[in-house]
């Protein structure tokens, strides 16, 4: 015997593998076995082929690659004996799938086996075909399978039926051939064949509408009868499951009836009796019974019905809901969601039970119940429901809170009839689960608050109270801080008290305390602190007496490591120190937002604009001005620094409102928001493309504010945008791009640049005269003048230039290509060079000049590096 033959028996190999203690050991054993098997395959060893494949299959189950065994399968299938074929087909199904090319080779063997005299072998072939056949194989072998549908042995018939299912799924065109055979299968008595026949019909209906029509007309009655027989049949030990005879057949029949009855009143009519019978008579204390009831309910829901059955169905679902078994409840909730579309009234009756399910311990049930509840809410029941949900919010799990909060918020928003109710509910939600509330939600809340002018006092007091108790909810702190800032005076003076309120005395000191807490808390994040700073500024205007204290607090942040906070505190401090006169104008009450604009913005349709209207500029842009109008530069736009990336549209808008966009990655697209989208040159022109004076280049604002002598203002209006490298900014930005070497103001309009003698030799001089267009410092216009210094005239004068990648060159045609001798005339040619790295890299150019003189061709090349520095 060959020393390499795999002598180990299957059992021994399995034992050996199981005895391995470590993965490495196992790999070693497997490797050895695979090697032996491979050797055996190479030898074409007949005796052990069977065993080898079995081993290979085991190895495959373990997870190791076994592709080398695929051909072995084919050889085994081609052998004559049943055991070999069996293992061959098994291996085929395990190691191969329909996408492999190798499968095609089996087609012939399959064909022969399908026609075999041994029905067990036919069974094997049908099995393999049904599990992994590809479309081509299906087409080839479909006639065989059709024939087998009428075979004498029921085992073969049922296998053929399922095989046909696969065939028609792969090749829907062949469906017509199977219709008649399938119909005859429905009359069978053998359960196995019946169930497979029913399944085949169901799939035929899905694939071919012709089949659907046929079955609907011819077979509905028969099916109803069969179902009746099954339901009424006596106890049969073979098919009994928990007291019901063959529940699977029940379910399949119901499913087929559903397909036939859907959309067809006639067919639905014929089923109503049997459906009612099944619905009422089936026992529901075991899973099998419940499965049947579930299918029955689904069928009732789908077919055309006048209502009697529907009520029955929903009652069943109601009973399911109160079942202790989680599975049943889950299934009921699922179905109820669909039932809501059909008959919402009936489902409403079970609202209480559904509410209980929301509080269940099983996560999937909770989720389903919440979704269902969401569908059930209408104007009448929203208030008590929300009350319950919010109560539950307090005790719910962390994972669930997010979901629950989102649903509550959207429900409240959708159904709120009065603003005060809305504000109340939102406050409660924020106090409980503020950390889960999304940004849009609290932005919307602030929007509503600012619109409800009569409720300002009430709101700010309520927020203050809430703030005192739940400071760990970030969004609550933010909203509270904003309101206290805006309406601090109402808070302290108890303005606009409503009857339902308890009186509360809040002094100015308390209000400032609250905001101070917000800043000082180490868990406050950037947004909160920034909002708090602005709120303090507002308060300093509303409570003049606390000005000093507020200044003290603000000053503490002057050295803050976060640029945003540092900048804000420095600027606000400046205002407090030097600009008391305009302070109150700065922090006037926010104007009421236009609702339509707000919802439009929220939908993300309009890009947001920074600038404000003319008149008293509030220190926060309220973005009402549409980008089309040329807005007056918001010189005091203190907070539109760190302009959000252009991609964020909706949701930005309220953010601007609160001046809260603080993306730590300072978007270099400086001002001009929306930078990319807007083609409004004017906007960008007047945009806040200011840069800190300490950096190179001055600010655009300087140009416009040159009338204002007050340097401080200019510094106020500077943004923290780092020196926007022109690379990133849209070209339009550079209209006022102040980048130049050194801190001087850029001089526009034809500054005199030194002209350059680019090239001079005894025979030729090239002079470059530079100019720049106002407003595009990147682009230099060069006028090149060529002078012939020799005594021979130059003909075919050609000037060529090459520039490195960061420059773009455009050559205009020369004035002529004959250069008269001795400087008696010159050729001029205009060049335009655009420097994409303007400010970083200087111009550099390689020139080549070619001309003919004295019947000689002359070529001169030179690199020009000495462009003026200030270009």
């Amino acid at each position: 015997m060959n020393p390499f033959s795999s002598g180990t028996r299957l059992r021994d190999m399995i034992r050996a593998i199981r005895a391995c203690k470590t993965a490495a050991e196992e790999r070693a054993v497997v490797r050895k076995e695979c090697a032996a098997i491979r050797a055996s395959i190479n030898e074409d060893d007949q005796d052990y082929r069977h065993r080898n494949l079995a081993k290979l299959m085991f190895i495959q189950i373990l997870g190791y690659p076994t592709h080398f065994g695929q051909m072995e399968c084919l050889k085994l299938i081609a052998s004559a004996g049943f055991p070999e074929k069996r293992i061959g087909y098994l291996g085929l199904m395990l190691l191969l799938d329909e996408r492999q090319e190798v499968l095609m080779l089996v087609t012939n063997s399959l064909k022969q086996d399908l026609n075999h005299s041994n029905q067990y072998i036919v069974g094997l072939a049908l099995c393999a075909l049904g599990n992994i056949c590809s479309a081509e194989m299906a087409r080839d072998l479909s006639p065989e399978v059709e024939r087998l549908l009428q075979f004498r042995d029921p085992n073969i018939r049922k296998k053929a039926a399922l095989c046909s299912i696969r065939i028609i799924k792969k090749v829907p065109d062949l469906a017509e051939n199977f219709i008649n055979c399938a119909a005859s299968l429905l009359k069978e008595k053998h359960h196995g064949v019946l169930i497979t026949g029913v399944q085949l019909c169901a799939d035929l209906c899905k694939v071919s509408s012709e089949a659907l029509e046929y079955f609907r007309k011819k077979c509905t009655e028969g099916l109803v009868r069969t179902l009746r027989d099954i339901v009424n049949s006596p106890y049969s030990p073979e098919y009994d499951t928990s007291g019901i005879t063959d529940p699977y057949l029940h379910i399949r029949l119901l499913k087929l009836l559903r397909i036939l009855g859907q959309g067809d009143a006639d067919a639905s009519d014929r089923m109503t009796d049997i459906l009612a019978q099944v619905a009422t008579k089936t026992e529901s204390n075991k899973n099998a019974g419940n499965a049947i009831l579930y299918e029955c309910v689904e069928t009732i829901m789908s077919i055309e019905d006048d209502g009697g059955l529907r009520v029955l169905a929903i009652n069943i679902l109601g009973k399911f809901l109160s079942n202790r078994d989680n599975n049943i409840r889950y299934v009921a909730l699922n179905m109820l969601m669909r039932a809501t579309t059909l008959d919402a009234q009936a489902v409403q009756r079970h609202r209480a039970t559904i509410l209980d399910c929301v509080k269940d311990s099983d996560a999937s049930i909770r989720k389903r119940a919440l979704e269902l509840l969401y569908l059930l809410v209408n104007e009448n029941n929203v208030k008590p429901l929300i009350k319950e949900l919010i109560e539950y919010l307090e005790v719910s799990d962390q994972e669930f809170k997010g979901d629950l909060t989102a649903k509550i918020c959207s429900l409240v928003e959708k159904f709120s009839s009065e603003k005060i109710w809305y504000i109340d509910q939102m406050l409660k939600v924020l106090s409980e689960a503020g950390n889960f509330v999304k940004d849009e939600v609290w932005h919307a809340l602030i929007f509503v608050i600012s619109n409800a002018s009569d409720l300002h006092g009430y709101t700010v007091r309520a927020l203050y109270r809430a703030f005192l108790t739940s400071t760990e909810q970030e969004t609550l702190v933010r909203v509270a801080v904003w309101c206290i800032g805006e309406y601090g005076d109402m808070l302290v003076n108890n303005v606009g008290m409503l009857d339902i309120e308890d009186p509360i005395t809040v002094t100015e000191c308390d209000a400032v305390d609250a905001v101070e807490v917000a800043i000082k808390r180490h868990t406050s994040d950037l947004t909160t602190k920034a909002m708090a700073l602005i709120a303090l500024l507002k308060l300093s205007s509303r409570f003049p007496s606390s000005s000093e204290r507020i200044k003290g607090i603000i000053v503490q942040n002057k050295g803050n490591l976060v640029l945003e906070l540092q900048q804000r505190s420095i600027e606000f401090n400046r205002i407090l120190q030097k600009h008391q006169k305009i302070r109150s104008a700065l922090v006037e009450r926010m104007p009421v937002l236009d609702e339509a604009t707000f919802s439009g913005r929220r939908a993300g349709s309009l890009p947001t604009a920074i600038s404000t209207s003319s008149g008293a500029p509030s220190n926060l842009p309220n973005g009402i001005a549409k980008p089309a109008t040329a807005p007056i530069p918001d010189l005091l736009d203190l907070s539109s620094d760190d302009v959000p990336a252009p991609s964020s549209s909706g949701g930005d808008f309220p953010q601007d409102l609160l001046g809260v966009d603080l993306s730590p990655t300072l978007a270099p697209s400086g001002a001009g928001k929306p930078p990319k989208a807007s083609t409004d040159v004017l906007l960008d022109l007047l945009s806040i493309g200011t840069y800190l004076p300490v950096q190179t280049g001055s600010s655009a604002a300087d140009i416009l504010s040159s009338s204002q002598d007050d340097k401080a203002l200019a510094s106020l209006s500077s943004l923290s945008a780092n020196a926007t490298s022109p690379v990133n900014a849209a070209p339009m930005m550079d209209l006022l791009d102040g980048h130049g070497p050194g801190p001087q103001k850029p001089k526009e309009n034809g500054q005199a640049y030194q002209s350059l003698v680019a090239y001079e030799s005894s025979s030729l001089r090239v002079m470059f005269n530079f100019s720049k267009q106002p407003g595009s410092p990147q682009t230099t216009l060069i006028q090149a003048t060529f002078t012939n210094l020799s005594s021979n005239v130059y003909n075919d004068f050609l000037f060529q230039a090459a520039v490195p990648k960061f420059l773009q060159l455009h050559l205009d045609p020369a004035s002529s290509n004959t250069l008269p001798a001795s400087g008696d005339g010159s050729i001029t040619q205009n060049l335009k060079v655009t420097n994409s790295q303007h400010g970083k890299k200087l111009l550099v150019m390689r020139v080549r000049i070619a001309y003919k003189t004295n019947n000689k061709d002359v070529l001169e090349e030179r690199q020009i590096n000495n462009f003026p520095q200030n270009l």
């Binding site: 399995i14 199904m93 049908l126 296998k159 359960h191 899973n287 689904e298 409840r329």
Partner: protein, 142 residues
């Protein structure tokens, strides 16, 4: 339609995996791993149905083995739960008090039984007796 059947033990080792939809080997491993993860940590009080990608997995634990069936979203879960139970009963009958080791050493027979029970992703036979009889006939031919 059943997309795949899988038997896994608590440690995640697959004892049986039959796919009725084509999948690459690596995808199969990924799927088995994910299903195992989904199923092994669930509280027994929870439902036996889990959402898995765009389908559903219906599972049940018997001793140390998880029997999982991945089916289409629209299928009747309770029916498949019964299916799983029927399969386990058949195995039990065939191997006389089946245990995991039986399934390991006789994996090819388990596949045979499965092939008699489910074909092309659909139920083939609902009578335990019929399947056991058939298996007997097949064994005689070996």
């Amino acid at each position: 339609m059943i997309r795949f059947v899988s038997l896994q033990n608590r440690q995640g080792k697959t004892r049986l995996a039959k796919y009725y939809v084509p999948l690459e080997d690596s995808e199969k491993h990924k799927v088995e791993y994910e299903v195992h993860r989904l199923v092994v940590n669930r509280d027994p009080k929870f439902t036996n149905f889990v959402e898995f990608r765009t389908h559903k997995v219906i599972y049940r634990r018997y001793a140390g083995l998880f029997f999982s069936l991945c089916v289409d979203i629209t299928d009747n879960e309770l029916a498949y739960l019964e299916c799983i139970h029927l399969f386990v009963e058949i195995l039990d009958h065939f191997f006389s008090n089946v245990c995991e080791l039986d399934l390991v050493f006789n994996f090819h027979k388990v596949y045979l039984i499965l092939d008699e029970f489910i074909l092309a992703g659909e139920l083939q036979e609902t009578s335990k007796k019929a399947i056991i009889e058939r298996m007997g006939e097949l064994e005689k031919l070996e």
